[in-house]
Symmetry: C2
Subunit: 140 residues, 2 copies
């Protein structure tokens, strides 16, 4: 994701207004590695700006997603998560505590075998599930 300042410029260019709500969301996402859901982001936003609506958070996230500034990640956990890291990366998920981390896989592109002649791969998503170090400690 671009910096909040660059996003402000980009929104202006495209004729979107730069509201305090949008700027707040830009700042909350900047450098955020927590892979928040819209709800989670809303809760944090509401602390800093009581009165902001969940609707606005959803809308701004959709705009950022459409502009390619945030990645939409669906880990099958119910809610969609948002990742301001739009590099070509993948995710590890702790099945105990649900924490998500970004990881980079360097063997790509991957080769596969199966009954899929002529398939043109545009993107590859990899999700590693398991147990994070903290949960392993707690259960030991």
């Amino acid at each position: 994701m671009k910096t909040p300042e660059e996003l402000v410029a980009r929104f202006r260019e495209q004729g979107y207004k730069v509201t305090p709500q949008r700027q707040l969301i830009f700042r909350l996402l900047d450098g955020n590695t927590a892979h928040p859901t819209a709800e989670t982001l809303y809760e944090v936003a509401a602390q800093q700006m009581p009165g902001i609506s969940l609707r606005t958070v959803y809308q701004t996230l959709s705009e950022l997603s459409a502009m390619g500034e945030v990645q939409h990640i669906d880990l099958g956990s119910g809610a969609v998560r948002f990742d301001p890291n739009v590099d070509d990366h993948h995710h590890v998920v702790c099945s105990t505590c649900g924490v998500v981390h970004d990881v980079y896989v360097n063997q790509t592109p991957l080769h596969f075998e199966g009954d899929v002649e002529g398939f043109a791969v545009h993107s590859t998503r990899i999700v590693f599930s398991g147990e994070c170090a903290q949960c392993a400690h707690l259960s030991a």
Copy 2:
């Protein structure tokens, strides 16, 4: 997934009753490579057994899933899909027509880099998205 006959035996062992509805679902899943949703499976089942309820289909799928006989796959397309292939395999999805195929990736285990010290990976899911040969033909 085991054969319908083996599943019948397994259900009996575990004290589950072997009803015609369950047997029908076993047969519909046997060798099924279509990655059906519960709805889809219900529609096919209802043709062969009018009166079967969607509820029963969901329930039987949950039981099979809990027994490890079918894989639960969530491609973020709204509904969960079921796969009687429980080998260590992955999926390719056509983003145009939505068709799903099983594929095997032989470079596993994959290595990754990132800020995740001590993470114990239990499973890896890979989804390749793109365009299948048929959709490529149609759009060409």
